[in-house]
């Protein structure tokens, strides 16, 4: 969810830039684009606001890397946290118990140690998650509010609205329906005292509501043309999209501004279609009919007078557009057709593709690629080898893991106790890094000696077998691992030595285990431990 939230935020931000650009162009060049084109542009942007996914094109030009910026505090955890006898009392308690060989049951042992890093990275993650949840909750609340309000409105209409049974009005309605080619459509007509303007409502069973004015036949015709054009164009569904976009983007003021401008453009384009239907000679009458819809406000309410000024300017702009509708609109249409089409293509391109260039370098990258990058930054190597479940002898109850294949590579995903996930990577030197899904390194441990090995694993096994034979023990090889000997409680001068860690099991009731540490450079047996049950490690 955090991931989705972040990419939604990025989309919202990018759409804000587009909205601002469109608003500026609309203000600077008011007459270049027809209301219809403006309306369609807004619808495209509306869809862009609701749908946060984009096709992924290339690597993207601007890399957002959002998740990592948020969680830097939890970033680093020491490499190799799992092998010190003092450091890993968690699971490999055997070290303290005198069996001085913590070594490489190592991954299991390492995880609790990495806990410091893990804890802080989880805290960072939860900040995003909390924000994501807050965003979702408010969005749902806003949406619920709209739905509630609409339901309430419909309830009022049901109670107080009275069906219009005036034959003349119904005949006019039927006439307009026929003219629009939807004669068979059932459209209810109701009169409502509590609305001040005519309106159409209902997605599937549309209903035209009339205020309690005495409209004459000509006015009714204008009204029906207007409302049925809205209905036929699906403007109600566009409004539904607006409500969804507003709910999701409740934090974004640009979307509120856009919504009101969009509704104005919707009305303006509807007006044009009405005039095209009723004839240019009726445009003044149409404008006067709209005037009938303005509700009366008592003069003594002085609050928010600037708002009223704004609305007066709005209606004036609309009226001016109506009465200046050109007779020769066909000629103009041809001139603007090319411009209009290219504008639409441009906006659509911006919304869809520019979005992917800008934002979706982060989105389009698979989680795996993204985390590989982080692992590489952290250890300076290409992490193009992925951990294999078999590499990882995980048996701590804190983890469950599954091996999934992504991009043809094996990728081990861990489910941490708190439900978050982490993934393991092995870099070219064999260092295993476990990364939380927010990109922080949970812990990392080297798996192979930096300088390579002189003694191969087969040779190491051979050396150990010979030693076992010398001791008259017959045991089967049960495990093979690299280890780093630093901190092992052994009496050597040097601080670190790379060893092969070999585990042999005696296959009888004694359940004895033999552990060999064989230097990867010299082939010396650095340590040999005989262990007997019970073992501390699961």
């Amino acid at each position: 969810m955090s991931q989705f939230f972040l990419s939604f935020l990025a989309t919202s931000l990018f759409m804000t830039i587009i909205i601002a650009a469109v608003l500026i162009i609309r203000a600077l060049l008011p007459n270049v684009f027809s209301p219809k084109i403006r309306y369609v542009v807004w619808i495209i942007i509306l869809l862009g606001l609701i749908i946060p996914v984009r096709p992924f094109l290339g690597d993207g030009l601007v890399d957002f890397q959002l998740p990592f910026a948020v969680s830097t505090e939890g970033q680093t955890v020491p490499i190799l946290s799992g092998t010190g006898s003092t450091g890993n009392s968690g699971i490999t308690g055997s070290a303290a118990a005198g069996q001085n060989l913590p070594v490489q049951e190592p991954l299991v042992a390492a995880i609790p140690d990495g806990g410091i890093g893990m804890v802080s990275s989880l805290r960072a993650l939860s900040v995003i998650e909390m924000l994501a949840i807050a965003w979702m909750v408010v969005a749902l609340a806003v949406l619920a509010y709209h739905v509630w309000k609409h339901a309430r409105f419909l309830g009022l209409v049901r109670r107080w609205g009275s069906p219009v049974d005036d034959k003349e009005a119904l005949t006019i309605l039927q006439g307009v329906l026929t003219e629009k080619g939807i004669a068979a459509k059932k459209i209810a007509l109701k009169r409502c005292e509590f609305v001040s303007t005519s309106m159409i409502v209902g997605f599937f069973r549309p209903m035209i509501l009339l205020p309690d004015n005495n409209f004459d036949a000509d006015e009714l015709e204008m009204i029906f043309h207007h409302e049925l054009i809205h209905w036929r164009r699906g403007d109600l569904f566009v409004k539904l999209l607006s409500v969804i976009a507003l709910s999701l983007n409740w934090f974004n003021p640009a979307v509120y501004i856009m919504n009101s401008v969009m509704q104005a453009d919707c009305e303006a384009s509807c007006d044009q279609l009405v005039i095209a239907s009723v004839g240019n000679e009726n445009k003044h009458f149409y404008a006067e009919t709209i005037m009938e819809m303005i509700g009366y406000r008592s003069a003594n309410v002085t609050a928010l007078s600037t708002c009223f000024y704004g609305s007066r300017r709005g209606i004036k702009t609309r009226m001016e557009a109506i009465i200046s509708t050109a007779d020769n609109s066909k000629k103009v249409a041809i001139v603007t057709l090319a411009t209009s089409l290219s504008t639409l293509v441009l906006v659509m391109g911006l919304v869809v593709f520019a979005g992917s260039v800008f934002i979706f370098s982060e989105q389009g990258q698979s989680d795996l690629e993204r985390m590989t990058d982080v692992a590489a930054v952290d250890d300076g190597y290409d992490n193009d080898v992925y951990a294999d479940v078999d590499d990882l002898n995980f048996d701590s109850p804190a983890f469950s893991f599954e091996q999934i294949e992504e991009d043809d590579k094996i990728n081990v995903v861990f489910q941490l106790e708190d439900g978050t996930t982490a993934r393991a990577f092995v870099n070219e030197l064999g260092t295993i890094s476990v990364l939380c899904d927010d990109g922080t390194i949970s812990w990392a441990t080297p798996r192979y000696p930096p300088g390579g090995t002189n003694i191969s694993s087969e040779e190491a096994v051979e050396i150990a077998r010979e030693d076992l034979i010398d001791r008259n023990v017959t045991a089967a090889l049960g495990g093979l691992d690299y280890g780093w000997g630093e901190g092992i409680d052994i009496s050597w001068e040097f601080e670190e030595v790379w060893v092969w860690v070999l585990l042999f099991y005696v296959q009888d009731e004694s359940e004895l285990r033999f552990r060999y540490l064989i230097c990867t450079q010299t082939g010396d047996i650095i340590d040999y431990i005989q262990e007997s049950p019970p073992f501390d490690i699961g």
């Binding site: 409302e227 819809m293 303005i294």
Partner: protein, 122 residues
């Protein structure tokens, strides 16, 4: 404090509002006609409840009980629609209707001014 009426009680009130004052029980039942299949007893219970809620008064004239509305229709509507009366212009953000005019209300003066301006454009 006037409370919102349930649908059934609202139907009864509608009949009472739209008839002469002092409507008798039998007239109410007649007006309901076949549209509802309420028993007379149910109707009487609802009428009593409406009296308790302060919507009606009743008086006995002869053998008939007569009902008169105390809260008139306009009064009740303004309560039930409260903010909606002023809000529902279609301009309320994101409402799921398409209104012919979705701007704000204006004063008479402002509207006349607009009309004047529109005339001049003709």
């Amino acid at each position: 404090m006037i409370k919102r009426l349930p649908d059934a009680e609202f139907e009864l009130m509608k009949i009472i509002w739209r008839s002469e004052p002092r409507i008798t029980t039998s007239k109410i039942i007649d007006s309901l006609g076949d549209a509802s299949n309420w028993k007379p007893q149910t109707i009487l219970t609802m009428l009593t409840r409406l009296i308790e809620k302060g919507f009606l008064t009743s008086e006995r004239i002869g053998r008939q009980r007569n009902y008169t509305a105390i809260v008139n229709e306009a009064e009740y509507m303004s309560v039930e629609t409260d903010g909606f009366m002023s809000r529902y212009r279609g301009n309320s953000l994101g409402s799921l209707v398409k209104a012919m005019y979705d701007g704000k209300d204006m004063t008479e003066e402002e509207i006349n001014e607009l009309r004047q301006w529109l005339k001049e454009k003709e």
